[in-house]
Each structure stands twice: as C-alpha cells, then as structure tokens.
Amino acid sequence: MKKTVSQLLDGCEPHQIDPLISDIDAELPEGADIDNIRSLTISKVRISNSRRIRRIIAIAACAVMLAGVLVGCYVAEKVDYENAVEFFDLNDMTTDGLSRSDIKRVYRDISSESFEYDDSYKLLSESRDTDSVEGVDIRINNSVNNIAAVPDNLNYGYSLNEAHGDIPDGVSYTGDYYEGADADAFLTKSADGEVKWTTHFKTMTYSDDYYVVGGRVLITGYVMYDKLHDYMHTCLALVDDSTGELLWEKELDSKYHFDEYANAVLTADGRAAVLTIASDDRFSGENHLVFREFDLTGKAVHEHEQRKDDMYYSFNLTEISGGWLAVYNAVTESSSVSSTLSTVPHILVFDSEGVISREWDFSDFGSDGSADPSCDIESITEHDGRIFVAVTKRNSTDLYNGMDIEKMLPEGETFASFSDKARDRARECFSAVLYVFDSASAKPQQFYSVDGARALNNSLKITGDGSLVWSVGRIVRAGWSPYTSSFSLYGVTRRYDYTFDSDNKLLRQDRTDKFGSFTTL
C-alpha cells in the first residue's frame, strides 16, 4: 500500500523531526484566537489537576478507613470522643453540662444529620446565633456599560511580576526570572521610561513578587537546585529603593526539599515577614506552614513552623496590632457531581512570634443558600478593631462544567465571544464580597456584596481620614471558550471604588475610568 509523504510524516517520533523543524516557526493565522487557546489550556490543566487531587483525597480517605478498621475498640472510642470535642470547638458549641457519652451522641446525631437527640437542636441553635450577620447587596448605580471605552489593546494574559505597595505613576519594577544558564535573577527600576538601577541577586535564581514600602523594596523569589526541581527554596532580598543597593539576601534554608513562597509583607520600618509552605513531596498532603520574620539587617528574629495539611493556596499576609494576620484559600471537595473543587477562605491570626493563636473559616458566613460557593481571597486589612477581607465569590454554577454553562444560554443560542449575553452570564457567575470581622473576637460583623463584579488584588486601602476604600472590578465585557468538557470565562472589568466610614457604613460609590482583565483559571 503506497503512502504519501504526508501520511508517512504522520508517524514521526519527536526526535526524528527535530532537525527538520528546528528553524521553522509559524504565526497564528488571522481569525485564530490565542486567548482562546490560552484559556482552554489553563482550564484543561486545572481540571486534570483537580481530578488528581480528588484521587489523592480518595486514597487518603481509604487509608483512614483502613486505619480505622485496624484500631481497637478502645482507641476507636477515644478517637470518637476527640472528634466530637473538635467538632464542638469548630462550631463554637459548648460542652458544659454534657457527659462524655452525651458529647459523642450529639456529635454523631449532628454529623449524621439524624437530629434525634434533643440536645442537638439546642446546641446548634445557640452556636448559630453568632452567624446571624447582616449583609448588604450594593447595586451598581451606573448601568451604562460603555463597552466602546474599553481599551482595545488590553492584555488578557497574566502579569509576570506582581507589585505590592504604593508605586508612583511612571515608576515600574521589572524582575526577570531567568537570564541564561548561570546567571541569577535581577530587578530593574525604571521611572518615566528611564532605567534608574538594576540589582543582581547573588543566590536567587528567579525573582517573583516585590513590595515597595518605606523607601525599600522586598523581592521574593526562588533558588532551585539541580535536576529540575529536586529542591526549591524561597529567597528574599531587600534593596534600597533610591540606589538599588542590595541590603541583604536570604535563602530560606529549609530542612525540607520544598519551601515554597506563600506570601510576604514589608513594614514601613524595614521588617519583613514571610510565609512559606514546606514539604518533602508537594503531592503527599503533608505540609508545614512556616512563618519567618527578619529585621532591617536581615537577621531572623522569629521563626515558627506548624503542621498544616490543608490544600491551600493564595495566601495573603498583613501585620496587625500584636501580631500578624493571614488569609488563605483552602481547597475542599465540592458536593456537586463535577470534578471541580471548591475553595473556602480561612483566617489565621499569628502572635508576634509567629505562632497561630486563632484560626477560623467563613464558608457559611453570609451564605445565600447556594451550594458550595467558592471564595477567592484578594485582599485583607485590619483597621480600628476590625478585619476586612475582600473576596471574589463564585456562585454555585460550576464554571468548569460545560453542561452547567450551556444550561445558562437561551435555547438555540450559540457561544460567542464578547457578546452581551456572554457578559450577562459572566456577571451571574461572580460577586465581589467584603467581609467584616471583629479583630478581638473573630466574630463576623457584616458583609457587602456587589453582583457581577470581582474583588481586585490589593484592593483594600485605608485613607488618611480613616475611611476604608474597597475596589472591585465590574465585568463590562466577557466571552467564553467552549470545548469538549469545560469552559473558561475571560474579558474586561471596570474598576468601581466603594468608601466606608468607621461604622462600616457605605459612604459612596465611584465609577473610575480604569480597566483590568480577568480570566477564570
């Protein structure tokens, strides 16, 4: 059977065609959409990773069950009791006046949702009183979308280095994460297009985020060792913002193979605090949260490690009176049939030495009854005895399930990028929410919600007169990308600023002329 040249080339192995295509490149043709390719790719990777995490969870669950069978009755009773006490603690339920067997009975009654035991209802009612928190839905005043005003050249991609702090207009910092085989990372400061300084780091292989505060720049990054990722440690460096002088540089020399950067903060007096997640195997589920604080000279003044196995990401750390505050998203399994996982924000309060003194989540805070709402933390701050947490909340619709999105379309409609319908459906998927907690008691006080918008990164600012300004991005243009089993949303947001007084009262809503991009990853 004769084969054509083209058919013969179909079966080529990669190494065979290497020499033939090494110098060949091709541009995307007109009409092809690189944003669509990017969105599809990220979503496919995300779904596969989610499935992998679900497998890990399933394996872990099996292991726990197996261990449970092997443990004797005595141990089982002890574990049962300890679980019950932990359950009471987690739900702010008191054990006062209850015997050991009562506690276990209430725990089993509630966790099995049987509710046959009288004390269960009473205890639940008392504990839930704290969650009766008022919420305010903020309506966008200006309903004009003004799509034409959206800059045509807005990039839908991802920023490379994330900036934190107050950076004047015209000033930019460029951190390159690689420069040849042997060179280290470097950071360049430019003002009005002119390079002011470039600082090369001694240890850091890649620079990452940077924080500009009080005339100094804190740069976070990594050093990686050998053979692609056997070891990876976080690096920190402090640079004088006016001269570019490298004040100090640290590799966080962990006893673990991986010590991955979670978040950092630079204070006005030059102290740096950093959270890392340390493990020997990134997929083992055994993680350690490490808090470190360095003084102005780079000397470590506090270091504390605690085991925390949550599947967490998107940390945000800030200094509060008497310690530090961190918020992170923890991945939890969704109850929906799809493969997607939900994320639930958790708050950690550290004392001044970096030891966790309190922690809680707010999965059911401000619940609107939707199943498995997912929240992604964008910003936190503490002010005047209150903790403010800005999150983007996704509604119950599973954005990664094509069927769910498909159901949202009117019959006969096809998917199209940047249509009004796409924008309206995208708006149904998101709410920007601001949660307010009491700093001392950790009790929720209030929440504000703006539908059809997303909270923006680093969007909480305290003004000179003590008012709080919360920035959200309203979705003004959106498209989505269909493919075999999943969808991605992407588009443009317009920034709205909300100002609150010291009593959490909304003073005003400002529609700005600033636009940003968003994509569902």
Binding site: D10, C12, L20, I21, I34, T41, I42, S48, Y158, L228
Partner: protein
C-alpha cells in the same frame, strides 16, 4: 529561553510557563493541526481546541519528558499532529475512503513503514535548504505555497517548482514509493 529553562519555568510557575509556551508555539501547532484538519470541515475553534489539548497534555506529562531526547517544539508538534489525526478519525464529519478507513498494517508492513519513514526524513534533510523546509511546511504543516513563499522569502511559483523537483528527487530515490 532554552528547553531546560522552559521546563524549570513550567514547574516553578505553571501559569507563566504555559503562557510563554503558548506564545511561542501556538502558531506552529495550529499549522500542524490544520495540516490534518480540512478547513472546509473543521472551524478555527476545533483546531484551537486541539492546540490547547496538546499544550495541556504536554504540561501534564512533564515528568516523563526528557529534554535530552528531543525538543519541546518537536514533542508538541507530534502531540498536535496525532491529536488532529485522532479528531479527524473520530469525527462524524470525516468521509474516509473505504481503503483508508481499513488501513491496518501487518507487522512486516509496519516494520517496512518505519524504515521507510526514517529514510524519508533523512532524505528530506539531505535535500538541503530551502527544499527541506519547503517540504516540511508543505507536507507536515500543510501550508499553502503562498504562505511558504511568504515565510521563506520566495515567490509562490518558485516554491511550487522546488516542491515538484524535490518530490521527483525523492521518488527517484525511493523508486516511486513516495
């Protein structure tokens, strides 16, 4: 950025790595997939889907990728090519001729084909530039003579002439097999 640096970036910062990878190779993979997906039957969205599938498959199999054995570029091209072929085969839109649909090879034929393929690749390389690039663009990327001409700085008629001569040369070498 070389392949090892790219792999490190993909491991360290997956989103950035994928973003860079997509920026570098989307056009090439699109061409490779399009070369097997008839434009009259398959829209741009379907080709984009194949390209995205190729990137995600590559990322998810990073641990098994050996940069000393082949380049990321060729690895991605092969994934895209095979995915495009699979998509066409499984599509109801495809109207394969009967003999092609039942195209199965015996072990002996398969061995022969492998040898033939290896020799073909070698001979295409031996044609020298720009003829080898023209043939690869024509038969692997499925590019038109006009596109090839634009990419290589030649006239379309020159591309056609060179293609014809190169194929004749290969036919002579293979005794009509190609």
């Amino acid at each position: 950025m070389n392949d090892k640096e790219m792999l490190e970036l993909l491991k360290r910062k997956p989103q950035r790595g994928l973003d860079t990878l997509i920026g570098l190779y989307s056009g090439l993979l699109y061409a490779v997939a399009r070369g097997r997906m008839d434009a009259s039957l398959y829209g741009s969205a379907q080709v984009e889907d194949i390209v995205a599938d190729s990137f995600s498959d590559f990322y998810l199999s990073l641990d098994s990728f050996d940069p000393d054995r082949c380049s990321i570029k060729s690895f991605l091209c092969v994934i895209a090519r095979r995915k495009a072929i699979d998509a066409v085969r499984s599509s109801k839109l495809t109207q394969l001729p009967l003999d092609e649909a039942e195209d199965t090879l015996s072990l002996e034929e398969e061995t022969e084909e492998k040898e033939l393929r290896a020799r073909l690749i070698q001979e295409i390389g031996n044609l020298g530039e720009p003829d080898s690039a023209i043939l690869i663009r024509k038969y692997y990327l499925g590019q038109s003579s006009k596109d090839i001409a634009a990419a290589l700085g030649l006239s379309p008629s020159n591309v056609d002439t060179r293609t014809h001569r190169a194929v004749q040369k290969l036919k002579k070498i293979f005794g009509g097999a190609s």
